[in-house]
């Protein structure tokens, strides 16, 4: 067997595997969604429940992404630049959400914020409902997407060092001025990358949200839960159409990441 044929063989096996596992199934969803025409698909994703699910998902992204971006940048600064004891521990604990099954995330939140949870009594007394309500879905979304920004920003902060910030100080810039004018612009591509990953995860979270939401259509149903609900109710067109909306967002995310990769390259 010549080098050329073995190379072709390897290529065929690799691409065939990707086609069978990724491309064909995703393509099939697109086909199924539009099988009965574009109008049917459009109708399926513009029902009141679908629209509500879509906007609830957008709301979750709008809560989780800024919260985790602020936390991620702050935590990265503390981990890289801080000097207090336990910053190494903080660095290790930040990755914890990646090690936890989404279902366990949901269970964990119920055990703290649920009616019988550790803080449940106090919350109920103050008329705050977390589990089976929007705050619980938000907490679950924040939990699963928490590490991304910090993970992307930490290496960038390490790489740029402290010289630029110190130079800004000697030129008269205050701590905040230095942060806004020097540190933040220096980490912007890493931050953008982290924000995109956070967004993708927040859009697509299913397991954790599924446990804490109560899945009330038109109330606590996010877009991923809507997909499952439509599927279980044998409304395949609805399920596939909503899935296509999510898949299109995922493809957009990959497109943006690819562009950012090129910006980040020195």
């Amino acid at each position: 067997m010549s080098a050329r044929t073995s190379r072709l063989g390897l290529r065929t096996v690799a691409l065939g595997y990707l086609a069978a596992l990724l491309v064909a199934p995703v393509g099939m969803v697109f086909y199924r969604a539009f099988e009965h025409g574009f109008a049917a698909a459009w109708h399926a994703v513009t029902t009141p429940d679908a629209l509500h699910a879509f906007w609830l998902t957008v709301l979750m992204v709008a809560i989780a992404v800024p919260a985790n971006a602020v936390f991620g940048v702050g935590a990265a600064l503390v981990i890289v630049r801080g000097r207090f004891r336990g910053r190494a521990l903080l660095g290790a604990l930040i990755d914890l959400p990646f090690a936890v099954s989404p279902v366990v995330v949901g269970l964990a939140l119920i055990l703290v914020y649920g009616r019988d949870g550790w803080l449940g009594g106090w919350l109920t007394d103050h008329g705050i409902r977390v589990i089976f309500s929007t705050p619980g879905i938000a907490l679950a979304t924040i939990f699963v997407s928490l590490p991304f920004v910090a993970r992307e920003v930490v290496p960038v902060l390490r790489e740029i060092g402290t010289d630029q910030e110190q130079a800004a100080h000697t030129l008269g810039a205050s701590g905040w001025q230095t942060f806004w004018r020097v540190t933040l612009p220096a980490i912007r591509w890493g931050l953008a990358y982290g924000v995109i990953l956070t967004t993708a995860r927040a859009l697509g979270e299913f397991g954790a949200v599924s446990v804490v939401s109560g899945k009330l259509a038109g109330q606590t149903q996010t877009l991923t839960l809507f997909v499952e609900d439509r599927f279980q109710s044998f409304d395949l067109t609805g399920a596939y159409a909503a899935a296509v909306v999510l898949a299109a967002l995922a493809v957009a995310v990959i497109g943006v990441l690819t562009l950012l990769d090129r910006r980040r390259a020195p």
């Binding site: 690799a14 595997y17 936390f71 914890l96 939990f143 910030e165 991923t224 499952e228 999510l246």
Partner: protein
Amino acid sequence: MSRGLAPARPAVAGALASAYLSLVVLLPLAAVAARATDGGVGAFWHAVTAPEGRAAIELTVALAAIVVVINALAGTLIAWVLVRDEFPGKRLVNAIIDLPFALPTIVAGLTLLALYGPKGPLGVDVAFTRVGVGLALLFVTLPFVVRSVQPVLMELDREAEEAAASLGARPLTVFRRIVLPSLRPAIASGCGLAFARALGEFGSVVLLSGNIPFRTEVASVFVFGRVESDDVHAAAAVSVVLLAVSLALLLGIGLATSWRDRRVR
């Protein structure tokens, strides 16, 4: 001591970050551990070894192990083709690898059902079978090995391979004796991450598994079912097992990586 390097006072920022992490992540996880053991170690053990829970854990570990082996082979092959081969559309294929990370898991499950489910065009039906669950796990864990092997392969010194070839080694020998030893740590760490992910995976599995106890019910689906039926103690107990295994894996990978970095330096 250097002054004023963080925007706010570093201690305050550290305290805020820790508080956020505690409220969202640490406190809830502690609650799971507490709930799992609040009946004593005996009750915890009983819950974990009860037939259905035990079967779920065993199935999960077995499937994760199989998936990891397939990933090690397929992932390394794909990384190899992406680094060493040239063909039109390579950049697009490279971008597609990340699709499982970006695609919501429920959509991943649905796509597999669309093609390999009861109404699929191919006439195969893996719905409600262990094969189906395994397929879902393969889908969501695909990027791990590829993405950890790829950069190592790019950095690899081609001269060592050329030297081996010039000494008469055949391509397969060159790969086994020269390339593979350098890739092994990256493959191992990719496999570790994939294993941890497979253990806890839920969204992509839920539609394919059919939740048949002792047949297709994996650990996450079991936990979900117990939460729904208000058997929180059993759910927490199995959760703790999942947590412990994933944590040990990620910790091991972290330690191995830092140990290797130090040795290379």
